[in-house]
Amino acid sequence: MTQRQQILYLWANGSALDSGTVGWAFHDGTDGAGVPLPDAKPPYATGVAALRDGWMLLQSSQLSAPFPGNEHLNDYLEYEFVFERRVDAATGKERS
């Protein structure tokens, strides 16, 4: 069975997987043959909601102490969660 990956990034407003989603990105290795994201914006209110829709957590961001002198500087969105779904390339259905 040939598989393709769908990748979902969620950025949250806290370090927990049930923190609220504040950003998202979707990359579709099935080129549209697989299941699309829900239409809602954001597609999932939390990372836990994504788990309940069949997404598998690949990675969450490390928690790191700020460098001395940089304690009050912001940069990128801090709490990043990366999910995948593996899809059967022939049927477009999630791999069971």
């Binding site: 954001p42 500087l73 912001n74 990128y76 969105l77 709490y79």
Partner: protein, 283 residues
């Protein structure tokens, strides 16, 4: 000005007259065609004082010399700032390219000085038809431009839509991107970046300054003035974590200190608390 500090942009609705907008599109078209051609209309050299840019006859010069536009420019970067560069952003009808979110130029120095970029939209822009995407409140974060490519969607982001002649002033650090244009009309926009040539201290109309400037004791968990600069600097954007938000308040307070020359200014005691303790151990 406090809204600019909190949000990173400020918008002036239909501030450019209709005839300047109409003629402006034609000059933008010429500048697009001739900018890199051997002959024809050229932009000013980088580093030129604004007063010497686009001498008459020039519609872009006419726009930049409108009293209301010069008033805006002077309020942020002084009476005769330095021309950095400009560009005509032209998105053709049905263009599908989505530019990634980015900041212009490079990661900036840590001081509070800033450039402004004026985005002039000379025709109506309908919602979703190619208006610039931007993220309110992102301007004081320290990022590398290409690191923002990853963010396809951020809660609270905006896409410009508005009537002809609208000018939006961006802090140079605001995250932004060009968007697809599913409409049937060309989308034109002129962007100019200006560097301050004088300290950016109280350059705007400050008639209401004494009334709105809060004391450094103004604290959300103690006592607050009901209508003050601090209330505006407490703006929390939907994409921020609570830590982001409090750090942003510190950065905004530092920027407000620079803009006002009030070195004791604070919002919610964050800077005053740290400075008071640091003074105990000396330097």
């Amino acid at each position: 000005m406090a809204e600019f500090v909190a949000n990173g942009f400020i918008r002036f609705e239909a501030i450019v007259p209709s005839d300047v907008n109409k003629r402006g599109i034609e000059e933008m078209r010429r500048l697009e065609l001739e900018r890199f051609a051997p002959e024809g209309l050229k932009p000013p050299h980088t580093g030129t004082p604004l007063d010497e840019c686009y001498p008459a006859p020039s519609v872009i010069g006419e726009y930049l010399r409108l009293p209301q536009i010069r008033g805006i420019i002077e309020s942020f970067v002084g009476p005769n700032p330095t021309f950095d560069h400009d560009f005509t952003h032209h998105i053709q009808p049905h263009a599908t390219y989505t530019q990634p979110l980015h900041v212009d130029a490079v990661t900036d120095s840590p001081d509070t000085t800033f450039d402004v970029q004026l985005f002039w939209y000379p025709h109506d822009v309908a919602p979703g038809e190619g208006g610039t995407r931007f993220v309110p409140g992102s301007h004081l974060r320290r990022v590398r431009s290409s690191g923002l490519d990853r963010y396809q969607h951020i809660a609270g982001e905006k896409q410009f839509a508005g009537p002809a002649g609208t000018v939006v002033v961006f802090h140079h650090g605001l995250w932004h991107a060009g968007q697809p244009n599913p409409g049937d009309a060309d989308r034109w926009m002129h962007k100019v970046r200006l560097n301050p040539a004088v300290p950016q201290v109280r350059l705007w109309n400050t008639d209401d300054f004494a009334e709105l400037q809060n004391p450094p004791s103004d604290h959300v968990f103690a006592r607050m003035l009901p209508d003050s600069v601090a209330q505006i600097l407490r703006t929390m954007h939907p994409w921020m974590s609570i830590t982001d938000y409090r750090n942003e308040q510190i950065q905004r307070a530092k920027l407000w200190r620079y803009l006002t020359g009030d070195d004791a200014y604070d919002v919610d005691h964050y800077l005053t608390r740290l400075e008071g303790r640091a003074a105990l151990v000396g330097s």
